[in-house]
Assembly symmetry: C5
Amino acid sequence: MLINCVVYQEGKKLSDIPVEEISRWVERPDCFVWVALRDASDEELATMQREFGLHDLAVEDASHGQQRPKVEEYADQLFVVMHTVELDALDQLRVGEVDVFVGRNFVLSVRNRSRHSLLGVRERAEREPHLLRHGAGFVLYALLDAVVDRYFPIIDLMESELEALEAQIFEPGSARTNVQQLYALKQRIMAVRHTVTPLLEAVAKLWSGRVPAVCEGNREYFRDVYDHLLRIHASLDSLRDTIGTAIQVNLSMVTIEESEITKQLAAWAGIFAAATAFAGIWGMNFEHMPELKWQYGYPLALGTIVLTCVLLYRRFKKVGWL
Amino acid sequence: MLINCVVYQEGKKLSDIPVEEISRWVERPDCFVWVALRDASDEELATMQREFGLHDLAVEDASHGQQRPKVEEYADQLFVVMHTVELDALDQLRVGEVDVFVGRNFVLSVRNRSRHSLLGVRERAEREPHLLRHGAGFVLYALLDAVVDRYFPIIDLMESELEALEAQIFEPGSARTNVQQLYALKQRIMAVRHTVTPLLEAVAKLWSGRVPAVCEGNREYFRDVYDHLLRIHASLDSLRDTIGTAIQVNLSMVTIEESEITKQLAAWAGIFAAATAFAGIWGMNFEHMPELKWQYGYPLALGTIVLTCVLLYRRFKKVGWL
Amino acid sequence: MLINCVVYQEGKKLSDIPVEEISRWVERPDCFVWVALRDASDEELATMQREFGLHDLAVEDASHGQQRPKVEEYADQLFVVMHTVELDALDQLRVGEVDVFVGRNFVLSVRNRSRHSLLGVRERAEREPHLLRHGAGFVLYALLDAVVDRYFPIIDLMESELEALEAQIFEPGSARTNVQQLYALKQRIMAVRHTVTPLLEAVAKLWSGRVPAVCEGNREYFRDVYDHLLRIHASLDSLRDTIGTAIQVNLSMVTIEESEITKQLAAWAGIFAAATAFAGIWGMNFEHMPELKWQYGYPLALGTIVLTCVLLYRRFKKVGWL
Amino acid sequence: MLINCVVYQEGKKLSDIPVEEISRWVERPDCFVWVALRDASDEELATMQREFGLHDLAVEDASHGQQRPKVEEYADQLFVVMHTVELDALDQLRVGEVDVFVGRNFVLSVRNRSRHSLLGVRERAEREPHLLRHGAGFVLYALLDAVVDRYFPIIDLMESELEALEAQIFEPGSARTNVQQLYALKQRIMAVRHTVTPLLEAVAKLWSGRVPAVCEGNREYFRDVYDHLLRIHASLDSLRDTIGTAIQVNLSMVTIEESEITKQLAAWAGIFAAATAFAGIWGMNFEHMPELKWQYGYPLALGTIVLTCVLLYRRFKKVGWL
Amino acid sequence: MLINCVVYQEGKKLSDIPVEEISRWVERPDCFVWVALRDASDEELATMQREFGLHDLAVEDASHGQQRPKVEEYADQLFVVMHTVELDALDQLRVGEVDVFVGRNFVLSVRNRSRHSLLGVRERAEREPHLLRHGAGFVLYALLDAVVDRYFPIIDLMESELEALEAQIFEPGSARTNVQQLYALKQRIMAVRHTVTPLLEAVAKLWSGRVPAVCEGNREYFRDVYDHLLRIHASLDSLRDTIGTAIQVNLSMVTIEESEITKQLAAWAGIFAAATAFAGIWGMNFEHMPELKWQYGYPLALGTIVLTCVLLYRRFKKVGWL
């Protein structure tokens, strides 16, 4: 679906144009065209390919979707794939895709499977004509920046989730849900990581070493995006590492808890076994068991049993089994 | 076994030719020859070596089979080894091999131990003469692309298998089969990885940096294959990492389950031990045990025992042992 | 908040100047201006940007805070971000930030969320005019050196903490607190690591390979800071590795302890079960149990029971279960 | 001990020569001398050093033995160390060493602590004069190839051993021997790895980048050896990774087994405890226990006990504890 | 403390000289001065700095001590830090430091916290004037070689210690000490590693790529030291890896042992519980229990109990629980 199709001159909006006139405007060196599509159909992509002269393979990738984030040069054009990450109503991660075709004087963005619109990017850019004058390269930066900025709240969320889990680990009795939640969190972190790592590598090509002509004047801006991605990447690595340790520590806590229960089990088993053994002995049917006939035999027996139990109890208490 | 032996001119099929005429056609700079063999015998390979002027070591590798995926340059010829991966009737992974010799104006492909034919590649190529006109390099791309595309369903299958296993991990009682299946899946992932990783490294040489002359005009196509391999590679890494965590988590679940059983064991042992101790005491044979003579001694005793058990039961229930 | 704003000539302090005159002094090639801010407001930063001609993106980073440690070149200016690490009253790690803008003849440092002042750096520098004469590059070195030197006591503290924990691991009964403390220590180490690793990479750019003009004359000094960071980095890696092993070993110790308790449980259970079985047998109500009528039946029975228990006890003692 | 000392011309054997004449023949540019020693004494090495003009450090290394596999250039000479790997009568790994000195027109090989002779290499080389004509570089290739080819059966053996172990892991009761055998296998794999990895790095220097003059004409042959080493290396990595998982899985299986036994223990303990509690109650000595006087009290009691036990048994069966 | 201060010419000792004359001799291009200090005071270092013209930062490092092993170039001088490793009387690792300043025609070595003297190096060097003639670079090599050679016995010792531990792992009952010793050994290995790894990196700069002028003529000698360090490094890596596995295996063995004890516990508990249950039943006080009145009731009962126990025992024996 077409969202916008606008021509800019000197950083200022000239007018909305119909799709068929794109190729005519693109020829003019002093203008640039910025088109935005959403969940584009194959026909729309075909039209765009004709109007902008896009490369077969790039269009094919955009139409298939499900690409890795990447930056590819086709002669003097760039094809950029980014992933968007959003939480849906059920707190599930949803990965969308933004494909951007950049030429000397045009930008075509295609947004797929993502609810967040990128309209804000255009508005902000139109408000700053001195920046928009930098042309297609600057628009690419603005789109990248917008996508990357939306990773931060996701990371923050995952970090607070992990902190909450860390507090739970050392409380007895929640091991099962801890493991489940740690596992689920790890899966989510890995998903975001597969979005960030390749984009990081891709963006590096836009500011360091030989840089595509269209980005040349905006190196510092792309380095800034790169720096944000690096920060996100470091946070993800740290999250991943911490979860690994947390799973290990959770297992330790389970084992420690089990060991404590085994101690209690052993202690109580000992106490009761002693009582039962005494009772068993005085329950034997020998004829000549003088103590059975004593006036105070029974209370003495009870006293012996209780005393033994108390002594055992205190001993186990002392060694920390109870 | 010979499958095809065809001469092309300007991207169009000229004619099938007998094997002995190959060398005559290869000399003509305006044509190119595309030969396909299957499970080739040493004699067939020797004939091909003579006709195309292949290098000793390359032919030796093709005849031995069991090579790592690789791309090797011999003067102006390329020798490419790829592995095919298929599931047989019993869902076992079977690794086959496709060896491709590429020269300035010929392609020779040898398929070994693989059921999937590559005929489709030739048909599609012949339908697009404007691409086939790019010559031997394009055919190599088409073969690579066909082999790599067949990795995707295998990856998808392994991903759904893992998802099914993940659901099982958190259900009690299936730990044993989980471990077995996770282990088997990991083995399969490693097998596919040994197919993909070296091919990834090899294909990189076909589009970045200094590129063999025969691939020069098709860089963007090889980059596309490379990109697919990178995606597969990332999926495999992610699968491997997840399986590692899953095995660890499965062990955690077993330990947690054991710990819960130990708790139940301890609780019930405590309850019965208390009952038995009481019964043992009143089973002693002392003469002077007044309560034994009481009218309601027995029901009182039973009541005491039951009460103790109930109290213990509720206490254990409260601390979560039962 | 402004702390200092001083002009230097030939390495000697000329005078404090008001903020508005900065741009006038910066124009003079024979002087350099060194300004220090603390928890700067956006207006202060805006003033500084005007006076020194700083780059938009750098000022934005300084105003947002929470950057990764880094060194960025903007034309002939440098923007350096470092993290300070301090322990607060509760022994919690607090990470602050020092942002430094360096130009051909000025240095602007902005300290955020950190209690340690950097005044000592200025004092020491002013005491050594022959070094301060090296200009802005030397001041950058002095600031870096001051920040990095404060990492060492933190590392030392964490190392002694780990040593104390190591001694505890092999003592029975403290597994639970060990795990908790090891986990907390690991978290702290990771936090410091995220401060050190990026700074290490950043400082490398100041002495090896192509070096920013402003640092050119002080390469050996930056290499020295780099070397300190490398040492800290190695210590952190070693700490991290050791903690990993310590967590693993702690788990081993818990398992070993549990295994020993299980042995004792089994041994005592065996001894009491034997006693109880004997008592049970002689407590049966058969009419024809001749030993029940013997004169010394009871002491013999008691003797048998005690003997059995002693024999079992010694046997368990021998195999190390008790 | 001297094994051979032969002069070749144009790839053909000229004659065996005495050791003292070596230096005279080495001077002739159209010949080359190939000497083979076995477990050479220091005097033999000194003679060789004199005759061939070998470097002090290289000779020292050869005389000490126990070097890492490596390729070192001394001016226009090469010093190559390879390790041989053999299984002795007791299936123990034995690591031997082959040191090769290569000059423009000579090869000196010294074999240490290895039973496999390298005579076959010379025979095969002499049968192919067109290859032997390539001179010293080709002989080095042939020796490398022979040593590397002997790694394959060792790898195969270790792979089948691991497969056998994998089958055992999932069978209960063999955990102890499994661990022992996995550990021993891992040790063996590490030993072979220490032989292969440095050789891999060393051989890379013989075909890629700047190549020693003596190997220049044989690049493709060295690349072939390199490729074999890469394959072996990948197999070893795979073996190592699999053993790591196998040890982990084995531990999982032990824990699972233990957990199953704990379940059975708990279940049977419960059943017997119930029976014992009932018997204990009816074994109490209260005077007024009417059921004791019933005609069918005893069978009813037995029935109750058996019924309780059966009910418990079925319940435990149902939840999978028995 | 000054140990030696000697001038050499053409590789031969000229004479001992007083410290104050050093600068006069260093000016002469045909001589070189070799000074050795031990646990040097700051004044001694200041004197040396004056005489040899050493760089501030290098002298500061030498006076602080506790540097990482490294090689630093200051203009045409080299500053080299190495660590010595020794075992003290209590078998504790002690790390000392040797700092070497190397100029075009002087060497200054400072040995700190190390008992092993380096006198042997000077003696051996003086015995070989043809090597000593290579000058300062050769002396640096000789010192490096001496320090590195002393790592080998430490490595050997740790390897035999590990082998002894490996044998213990599979013997039951020593798990606790095993873990403790493995942990201690790992700590020691890490300490040596922190000595070796940075030195390895540092020495690489002395023979590969651009090499400091003073080492230029001795490349092959430094490569030899590098090679030794590489061997040590590989051994340490192997040790570390093996210890990791050994700790894991030790935990497996503990778990296996515990599982075996649990089996025995369960088996004996079952046997005794059966006996006790029978005895309990015949100890009930029902009036109508005909078997109690039988002539051979008691022996029959005993027989039944024993038989049951024997049957259970054999059954447990068969399934391997006893």
